[in-house]
């Protein structure tokens, strides 16, 4: 238990992490470093997407299963780990460097 907390805090303490969200199965954030509206939005939007992704993966091979869904965008990277009873979301943000 404490270890889990510790790990989560370690993750959150990373410089590049914009925030983490732990949401329950209904898409309601239980624990989040974002403010609640943003967290709710992330959770709600992502759970449909992950359900779809999971369905896709398992359609191809029912014995396979989705572990992590990573979405890299221009500004950030969103990592979602879906499970039956919860959703773990991690948002990592970076600064892009202008290439010479």
């Amino acid at each position: 238990m404490a270890e889990v907390e510790e790990t989560l805090q370690r993750i959150e303490a990373h410089g590049s992490v914009a925030g983490t969200i732990v949401a329950n199965a209904d898409g309601i954030p239980i624990r989040s470093t974002f403010d609640s509206s943003k967290a709710g939005k992330y959770a709600d939007v992502l759970r449909h997407l992950t359900a779809m992704a999971r369905s896709t993966v398992r359609d191809v091979d029912p014995q396979d299963d989705l572990i992590v869904l990573r979405i890299s965008t221009k500004n950030q990277e969103i990592m979602v780990a879906p499970e039956n009873s919860y959703l773990l979301i991690l948002v990592q943000r970076f600064e892009r460097y202008a290439r010479a």
């Binding site: 238990m1 270890e3 889990v4 907390e5 790990t7 989560l8 370690r10 993750i11 990373h14 410089g15 590049s16 992490v17 732990v22 329950n24 199965a25 209904d26 898409g27 309601i28 239980i30 624990r31 609640s36 709710g40 759970r47 449909h48 359900a51 779809m52 992704a53 999971r54 369905s55 993966v57 398992r58 359609d59 029912p62 014995q63 989705l66 572990i67 992590v68 869904l69 990573r70 979405i71 890299s72 990277e77 990592m79 780990a81 879906p82 499970e83 039956n84 009873s85 919860y86 773990l88 991690l90 990592q92 970076f94 600064e95 892009r96 460097y97 290439r99 010479a100």
Partner: protein
């Protein structure tokens, strides 16, 4: 069919009499107020009264017998179950119709006609019976209906056991039944030639006269009637709202698969094939991610409530989630993803993978250093501190091994130096150099002195690092780092004493043998996340070390040929001079003495020609053993280096004597290692500032290497290049390439200011080298531009030894 001549013998007389009356009854029912009907009604009533009374008095079941005496009792249409106490025979239409004009039960009886009256007797009779039953009420119904029922049933049941013989010729009589009239609307007109024509005519005339006389006649009075219209009463009924839920599912392949896995309970859900457009209506199998329209709104409502209502309901949920193993595993994966994202270029460099462009970099406090570095490196290696992914979709953990650049403030100087070097040599053939990839370090390990490192034999990403100080009483720490997560060790073990030696087993890859400063040899199992302590230790063993254990190795000991078991045991050498072999038994470690290293004293010099031979004589005093190395191909031969500077070559089978002595060093030999490429060449590093290259069989070293005047703490061969080895001194790391130069190391990497380098390890499968220092950091360097690339032909070490070539 049998002749259905069911004449009710009991009441036939009555029937005949009332037949005509019945006809008139019908008439009268249409013309209300007709006298004829009235009379007939009366008559019929009287008749039926008597009949009724008789029937009531009898209280018996009515049985109808035909001419032959057969029981042709018509069965009721409705046969209530005998067990059902509430079953009441339903009143047929006829009951209602006829019972309306007669409150007493008489009328029903009168209606029962014979077959001659063109009515099917069975119907009304049933109704009679039924109505009788219902109206009387008091237990009568039961007796009445049940008895014929039972008899009928009995009859039926009696019939079934009898089997109709098939061989007999059955004669079947077909007869025409009586005409069944369902509706009879007699005409209102009569024929002139009918019998009653005259009578009817007369009555018609009478009637007309009557109508004419009505007006103005005193006999007839106009009367008005008014019916009361009762006050209407509104009655409303409201039922509870029936909540409807929409539920849909798509029979996806995985769902069918899952249902087969789980069999019965889920089977019903899996087979519901409804085509729903909205994919969000997934069944609960997906873990109640089902968003149903009605439920969806409800849940948002409840979610608002929940969020406002405080965390009371969320807390236990959070706890439950935290406890689940999958959560922990996911966290682990996430952390690795995260870190990998940051360190992508470096990890790629480590694994010789191409780097991903356009990866955003981490914003760090020393970001300007990063940019500067980036600009410089841009020219050469196109490494930009950016991040990206190959596929933005599902990714396995293993694919997330990308490299990263991470610059720590302590290594800034070194890195800048490297870059300067690199910049200078951009156009020409670059000099061999080391590039810092990353550092294993965390708060827990800061300040600890690294004493030893070992790679896991199976999982090439796992590195065990031992931390310990050599002051007594100071604790030790073992960290298992994984390359997948550069920021935090996978495992952390606290030990009661400083760690001095580490080795992973090859047959049980999760076993880690540890040698400690107080002489304890312990075995850890790394695979178990939960365990915090060792599996077995030698603390309580009878035979154990009491001095620091300087080296542990797992050795495969093959048993006799019949047993194909390869038992692995731990060999340890310690400062008390003993070489012990440890076996892991059920009750812990068991130590077996192998050898005792003795002091060697120079014996008598024998002059044999020009050579002076020195024979060593064993003295009984034990000498501290500092290092141990088994021959790579012959597990019975090993080398032990002592603090005298003598290297003993020993055999596992010989417990008392050495096989050969290699004497050259004047100071303690800190490391011996066989060459992984040449079977009879080994290297030794000693505190007398030299590294010596030996060939087996030759008692003097073939070559010696010195650089700065500092004890060599460790010397190891490179696993990739046969002519490359590395030596570590407390101020610098040296990489020697015998192909390039025999006099100087090819690469010299000085330690950061204030730090002492203490241990070194080559990385497997990669051209990287690890250096541990006294501040608890393990630095990963990549060796670059060594002239002995894998694509260049490498002359074997033998040739080098025999024909040392001097190159610039």
């Amino acid at each position: 069919m049998k002749r259905n001549s069911s004449t009710l013998t009991a009441s036939s007389r009555a029937m005949k009499r009332s037949t005509s009356g019945m006809q008139r009854v019908l008439h009268s029912s249409r013309y209300t107020g007709s006298f004829a009907g009235f009379h007939s009604r009366k008559g019929s009533r009287m008749l039926s009264d008597s009949k009724m009374g008789r029937s009531l008095a009898q209280r018996k079941a009515i049985r109808v017998l035909d001419e032959d005496g057969n029981d042709v009792t018509p069965r009721p249409l409705y046969e209530p179950e005998p067990k059902d106490p509430h079953a009441k025979p339903q009143r047929s239409f006829f009951d209602d119709y006829y019972s309306r004009w007669d409150t007493s039960k008489s009328s029903s009886f009168s209606i029962v006609p014979s077959s001659g009256s063109r009515w099917n007797s069975s119907l009304p009779s049933i109704s009679t019976r039924a109505s009788l039953a219902s109206q009387s009420g008091v237990g009568f119904s039961k007796l009445d209906t049940s008895q014929p029922l039972e008899t009928a049933r009995q009859v039926v049941s009696q019939q079934t056991p009898e089997e109709i013989p098939l061989d007999e010729v059955l004669s079947i009589y077909m007869t025409e039944t009586d005409t069944i009239i369902l509706l009879d609307l007699p005409s209102t007109c009569m024929s002139e030639e009918a019998e009653n024509a005259q009578a009817t005519k007369e009555s018609n005339i009478l009637y007309i006269e009557l109508c004419n006389n009505r007006l103005g006649n005193d006999k007839y009075v106009e009367r008005a009637m008014q019916t009361f219209v009762g006050a209407a009463k509104h009655k409303k009924v409201q039922s509870e709202k029936i909540v409807m839920h929409d539920q849909g599912t798509i029979a996806t392949i995985w769902e069918i698969f899952d249902s087969f896995q789980n069999e019965a309970p889920k089977a019903e859900k899996a087979n519901a094939v409804e085509s729903m457009v909205d994919i969000s209506k997934d069944p609960k199998r997906l873990g109640s991610f089902s968003s149903i329209s009605t439920v969806g709104t409800a849940s948002t409502g409840s979610s608002l409530f929940k969020m406002q209502g405080g965390d009371m309901s969320d807390e236990p949920e959070l706890q439950v989630i935290f406890k689940s193993e999958t959560f922990q595993r996911n966290l682990l994966i996430m952390e690795r993803c995260l870190v990998a994202n940051i360190f992508q270029p470096r990890l790629a460099a480590y694994r010789n993978l191409p780097e991903i462009k356009e990866l955003p970099a981490e914003t760090k406090p020393d970001s300007e250093k990063l940019t500067k570095e980036d600009e410089e490196e841009d020219d050469e290696e196109e490494e930009v501190g950016e991040m990206g992914n190959e596929e933005p979709e599902v990714k396995e953990e293993e694919q997330v091994k990308k490299d990263e650049e991470q610059v720590k403030k302590e290594e800034k100087e070194e890195v800048e130096k490297e870059e300067e070097e690199k910049e200078e040599e951009v156009e020409e053939e670059p000099d061999p150099s080391l590039e810092l990839l990353w550092t294993f370090s965390c708060e827990l390990t800061k300040g600890w002195n690294i004493t030893c490192m070992a790679w896991n034999k199976q999982n090439t990403d796992l590195l065990a690092v031992g931390y310990g100080d050599f002051s007594p009483g100071r604790k030790g720490l073992i960290c298992c780092w994984s390359i997948k997560n550069l920021s935090w060790p996978e495992r952390l073990y606290h030990c009661h004493s400083g760690i001095t030696a580490l080795d992973f087993s090859s047959s049980n890859p999760d076993k880690l043998a540890v040698g400690m400063h107080d002489g304890t040899v312990a075995i850890f199992s790394v695979s178990d996340r939960e365990s915090r302590t060792f599996l077995a230790s030698s603390i309580d063993c009878r035979r154990r070390h009491v001095h620091p254990v300087w080296h542990v190795t797992w050795v495969r000991q093959e048993m006799s040929i019949s047993e194909e078991d390869v038992v692995e045991s731990v060999m340890s050498v310690s400062e008390d001079g003993h070489v012990l072999k440890w076996l892991l038994c059920s009750h812990g470690l068991e130590g077996i003495g192998m050898l005792e290293l003795r002091r060697i004293q120079d014996g008598i010099k024998k002059a044999e020609g020009n050579k002076t031979k020195r024979e060593g004589i064993l003295v009984s005093t034990a000498t501290p053993g500092l290092c141990l190395d088994f021959h790579p191909s012959d597990p019975t031969i090993y080398l032990a280096g002592t603090s005298e500077g003598v290297i003993h070559k020993c055999s596992v089978s010989n417990h008392h004597h050495y096989l050969a002595l290699y004497q050259k060093h004047l100071c303690p030999v800190n490391q011996v290692q066989w060459s992984p490429f040449s079977p009879d060449v080994f290297l030794s590093g000693s505190a007398d500032w030299t590294v010596q290259l030996w060939k087996e069989g030759c008692l003097t070293p073939v070559m010696g290497f010195t650089s700065i005047q500092s004890p060599v703490l460790s010397a190891r061969w490179s696993p990739l290049w046969p002519s490359v080895f590395a030596a570590i001194k407390s101020e610098q790391l040296e990489i020697w390439d015998l192909n390039a130069s025999l006099l100087d190391p090819v690469i010299v990497e000085p330690a950061a200011r204030g730090l002492n380098l203490t241990s070194m390890l080559f990385a497997r499968g990669s051209n990287c080298i690890l250096v541990g220092d006294s501040s608890g950091q393990v630095n990963f360097y990549r060796i670059q531009n060594l002239s002995v690339g894998p694509d260049k032909t490498v002359p074997s070490l033998e040739e080098l030894i025999h024909f040392p070539s001097s190159t610039s």
